[in-house]
């Protein structure tokens, strides 16, 4: 359901558009109407709408003044006016559409569809941002999805001890003692897990630094992991490995 606010100085115009939106357009609720930009700002702050239908020519402040009150503008704007000459100026703002009065029902439908699509896209982007933030901020609870021969397996990052690459395949070694094979190369998981204290100690090994029991010095040396497995550290990666350990 989209929440809408109508800002227009003409009462008939507000009431008419409200009736159109409520009676003829699916899934739109008019949360408030306002007769000026100042009252519109208050209504937006109170109702947090998805879309604002905004007249341009109003006494005192024109519709464009609304954009000065919000930064960023986190709602969509559809201009509604009898003045065609403002179209260019309107599209220089972040407005999603421009409707000429008297409002055509088909065009109103299209504008609402555009708003719906944009809000949906914004929601997906926002969810993705949350997902990325989770990736960065929460090692303990974060899960990754890996493809196996019969579907997706969701693994908690904290349950992975290390990964071994073998050409186009990668083997996951888990705390549970399980070994999972995937048909992606190690580099892909190195990118995915780089923010979670995983380190590529060798061209064939990516280890969870929190699952090391012991590091044994040598030319490159080797690491004993929590499950007792040993993993070689390559000579050329040793220095960076030490630097990574010092940050833990």
């Amino acid at each position: 359901m989209l929440r809408a606010i109508i800002i227009d100085d003409e009462p008939k115009s507000r009431e008419g558009l409200e009736a159109m939106l409520q009676d003829m357009i699916k899934d739109v609720v008019v949360a408030a109407t306002a007769d000026s930009v100042a009252n519109g700002v208050r209504a937006i702050e109170k109702h947090q709408p998805d879309v604002v239908f905004l007249d341009i020519e109003m006494p005192r402040n024109d519709g464009f003044a609304l954009f000065e009150a919000f930064n960023p503008v986190d709602f969509e704007v559809v201009f509604t006016t009898a003045h065609e000459q403002y179209a260019l100026q309107a599209f220089r703002t972040t407005a999603i559409d421009y409707l000429l009065k008297p409002i055509d029902l088909d065009q109103l439908n299209q504008a609402v569809d555009k708003v719906r699509e944009k809000r949906q896209k914004d929601r997906v982007n926002k969810n993705f941002e949350v997902f990325v933030n989770n990736l960065k901020n929460s090692n303990a609870n974060h899960q990754i999805a890996i493809s196996s021969s019969d579907g997706l397996i969701f693994l908690k990052v904290e349950n992975i001890i290390y990964l071994r690459g073998d050409g186009a395949y990668t083997y996951f070694f888990l705390k549970s003692g399980e070994r999972i094979t995937t048909s992606k190369n190690l580099k892909e998981y190195e990118d995915l897990l780089s923010d979670y204290d995983f380190f590529r100690v060798h061209k064939s090994f990516l280890i969870n630094l929190h699952e090391m029991k012991k590091y044994v010095r040598g030319e490159g040396g080797y690491v004993v992991m929590s499950n007792g497995d040993t993993v070689d550290v390559s000579k050329r990666r040793k220095e960076n490995f030490m630097a990574a350990l010092s940050k833990l």
């Binding site: 008419g16 009736a19 020519e57 409002i103």
Partner: protein
């Protein structure tokens, strides 16, 4: 300045009225009345709109029109604005009946300056617009008075249209020596003196 300039100006004045936001806003009002199922209001709005449109069609080629017809046009114009805004701040026309019906005056002039005055008045809190018509043969004086606002103001919405009307006065005076006058400020917001033709 010649007759072609005058004809062009009339054509532009006609376009400014019929093609302007006013007509679209009037249609929007009618659409709203229908959507709100206010049948009698919608009917009234269609009646007024039709009269305005017929007047516009009739007067598109005429530089002058009988005052009675022009004042009727102004009445309908104000009625439509009142239907649109449904507010109390609309002017009364005072004394216009003193003017002989068959006196001819230039078309579209009074409406242009009245629209400017209406818009300025709407934006002033507690102001009041009155339109007084005086007839001192052969002059028809239309005095538009906004309480507390005597100075000259073009409203940005109709600035071009108002200037077009001013140009028309100059053209009518230059081409036909008609002797019309526009006075900004003074005791009133705006005074339009039209030299009536019998």
């Amino acid at each position: 300045m010649n007759m072609d300039d005058l004809d062009n100006n009339l054509l532009n004045s006609y376009k400014a009225f019929t093609g302007s936001h006013f007509m679209l806003n009037a249609l929007n009002t009618i659409q709203s009345e229908i959507l709100l199922r206010k049948d009698s209001d919608a009917f009234q709005a269609i009646q007024v709109f039709t009269r305005l449109y017929k007047h516009a069609l009739r007067s598109s080629n005429d530089h002058h029109l009988e005052f009675a017809e022009e004042i009727n046009f102004i009445h309908q114009y104000l009625k439509m604005e009142h239907l649109r805004f449904n507010e109390g701040k609309f002017p009364r026309l005072i004394n216009h009946s003193a003017v002989p019906d068959d006196l001819s005056v230039p078309t579209y002039l009074l409406q242009s300056f009245l629209e400017n005055a209406l818009l300025v008045n709407r934006e002033l809190p507690l102001s009041n617009l009155t339109v007084r018509v005086e007839y001192v043969r052969p002059m028809v004086r239309c005095i538009m008075d906004i309480s507390g606002k005597p100075e000259h103001t073009y409203h940005p919405k109709v600035q071009e249209k108002t200037r077009l009307a001013e140009e028309r006065i100059n053209l009518l005076n230059a081409v036909h020596n008609e002797g019309h006058r526009l006075i900004w400020g003074g005791k009133a917001f705006c005074t339009l003196e039209l030299n009536g033709i019998n």
